[in-house]
């Protein structure tokens, strides 16, 4: 299929048109808009870096950024520990293997918005009643403080995504040559050494994939945030994605929200590229 031929371009046309109209054009427009005072209605005037200067001084934005970073770091750690732990569990020779995989993965199919509502019930009602029953005050009033809101988000996300990360680790675990594990057993390596010196290096590509996934979803999370805490109390659990949506569509500050979105894009891109580069360097050749 030569690229001068008609069929080459006919085959490519639908996706190219959609990518251009849905991603490329809005992407370029958005970048330009972020230097104006566009409010969604009038065309707007060029204001240079004004939006970017004010967002650095914007306490709400900085708070959202800091909250998101903390959240992403904690969830990346937890999800990789849980995901790998569950994967190691269900790849052992236990009878409930397949059933457990199905159960652990299930939350991923249901969608963040609905899961957030279910957990809102659990934190607000179930935790409260258990707290009263046990006389444990720390279980009461969840989601009504910044701290507990943060951990509520972490628990929800860990419960939801651990099964997804588990599937990724299982996929890579199955490609680890079993004779390597056997050989190290014969050589007298104990479980810890086997894990550290044999399994761990061989699983490095799985780390790359799952860290990329967890880190980027950690930064981009929106639905769960909306349905679990709705950003409250007093916007203190509002993450970046929600801050951008609200600035744009509740406050109608389109250009300002777009400047936030550009900063958001740069953070996500830099982290993703740096992380993949770093992890790739650590992977061993098979």
């Amino acid at each position: 299929m030569k690229n001068r031929s008609l069929s080459y371009w006919l085959f490519l046309a639908p996706v190219m048109i959609s990518l251009i109209l849905v991603v490329a054009v809005p992407f370029i427009y958005g970048f330009v808009f972020s230097f104006t005072n566009w409010d969604g209605l009038s065309i707007g005037r060029f204001v240079g870096l004004e939006n970017y200067v004010s967002l650095v001084q914007d306490e709400e934005f900085m708070n959202a950024l800091w909250f998101t970073i903390k959240f992403a770091v904690v969830t990346v750690l937890l999800l990789n520990v849980f995901g790998l732990g569950l994967a190691l569990l269900v790849t052992r020779n236990i009878k409930t293997n397949n059933l457990l995989r199905t159960v652990f993965f299930m939350p991923n199919l249901i969608g963040g918005l609905i899961l957030g509502f279910i957990w809102q019930f659990i934190f607000v009602n179930v935790f409260d009643q258990i707290g009263t029953l046990l006389g444990a005050e720390s279980l009461q009033g969840w989601l009504s403080t910044t701290q507990t809101g943060f951990w509520g988000m972490v628990i929800l996300t860990a419960w939801q995504m651990a099964g997804y990360i588990m599937i990724i680790y299982i996929a890579y675990l199955q490609s680890v040559p079993m004779d390597l594990i056997e050989a190290s057993k014969i050589d007298g390596a104990n479980a810890f050494h086997r894990f550290k010196n044999v399994l761990f290096p061989l699983l490095a590509p799985a780390f790359t994939v799952s860290m990329f996934l967890t880190l980027s979803t950690g930064f981009k999370i929106y639905d769960q945030n909306l349905s679990l805490t709705n950003g409250g109390p007093f916007n203190s659990t509002q993450m970046l994605a929600m801050d951008i949506v609200r600035t744009a569509f509740s406050d109608n500050q389109m250009a300002y929200a777009q400047a936030k979105a550009v900063v958001f894009l740069m953070i996500v891109a830099v982290i993703a590229l740096a992380q993949v580069y770093y992890n790739k360097k650590k992977e061993v050749e098979m």
Binding site: V15, V23, F104, L109, W159, I244
Partner: protein, 274 residues
């Protein structure tokens, strides 16, 4: 000795697995049992089974959710989006894999690179542009899903197509097939495993998507997540009704999962490895 110890370890792992499994299911249990209770019964205790099963909660939630309508909307939007993602992405990946040139490499990398752009970065101009041409409707939404979904699909199809020998194309051309016939009759059927993967990954994403529909769809064309958001807002603190609504909303997914769990788990792991 050694065998015995391993057996014992395994038994502990079985127990650990069951405990974790139950823990994972607990939120669904709590949702379901409390959906049958009255408001005061929830207040008295959330953990136990209800004294009597109040199916009224479900009937009212079903009505207020306008469930059949939102189910229909979700199925149409998800189904059509996935159909065009599969059709157009496989064709594009075929063109790119059968023409190894600098241009093809640049096009492929552009598509893959687009995956790095978070939705929020294009969201505002996207809604504004589509609003100006009156495309903020289900049709526009499906077209947007093609734009956002084609990158990963092309990437996956491209990998699979590279392992299908070119000799097959040549044989079909000699037999007198044109490019379209060749692709749809010979190549596309061979791509079935990756088509399933692409389909599954996109069902999970599009079916559950909330943000994009919330910016585009009206209440009549709302998908299940969007409708659920409106519904939940109406019944704040009316927990039995809200929980019954949540239960109804996840039933289609549970049915789908029950029938396609093998493909789903396989699809997800293939998407992650490639």
């Amino acid at each position: 000795m050694r065998g015995n110890r391993e057996k014992k370890n395994l038994r502990w792992l079985e127990v650990l697995g069951i405990v974790l499994g139950l823990l994972w299911l607990a939120p669904f249990y709590l949702m379901l049992v409390n959906a049958f209770k009255s408001k005061s019964e929830i207040f008295q205790g959330v953990l136990g089974l209800p004294a009597s099963f109040r199916f009224e909660n479900f009937i009212q939630a079903f009505d207020d959710l306008d469930f059949l309508q939102s189910l229909f909307n979700s199925i149409m939007i998800t189904g059509l989006s996935i159909l065009i993602i599969i059709l157009f992405s496989s064709m594009a990946a075929y063109a790119l894999s059968r023409n190894k040139s600098k241009l093809s490499t640049v096009i492929l990398f552009t598509f893959v690179g687009a995956m790095l752009i978070p939705f929020q970065a294009v969201m505002i101009p996207l809604v504004s542009i589509f609003g100006q041409v009156n495309m903020l409707n289900a049709g526009g939404l499906i077209f947007m899903y093609l734009g956002f979904g084609c990158s990963l699909a092309i990437f996956l199809y491209h990998g699979a197509l590279n392992s299908i020998p070119q000799a097959l194309d040549e044989a079909a051309i000699i037999d007198g097939a044109n490019r379209f016939q060749l692709f749809w009759l010979v190549i596309f059927p061979l791509l079935k495993p990756i088509t399933i993967t692409v389909g599954i990954l996109n069902v999970i994403w599009i079916w559950n998507d909330y943000l994009l529909p919330s910016l585009i769809l009206s209440e009549e064309t709302a998908t299940i997540p969007l409708k659920m958001y409106f519904f939940f807002g109406e019944y704040t603190k009316q927990w039995p009704l809200a929980l019954a609504g949540l239960t109804i909303a996840i039933i289609p997914v549970i049915i789908f999962y029950f029938f396609a769990q093998k493909q789903i788990i396989k699809g997800v792991s293939e998407g992650a490895v490639k």
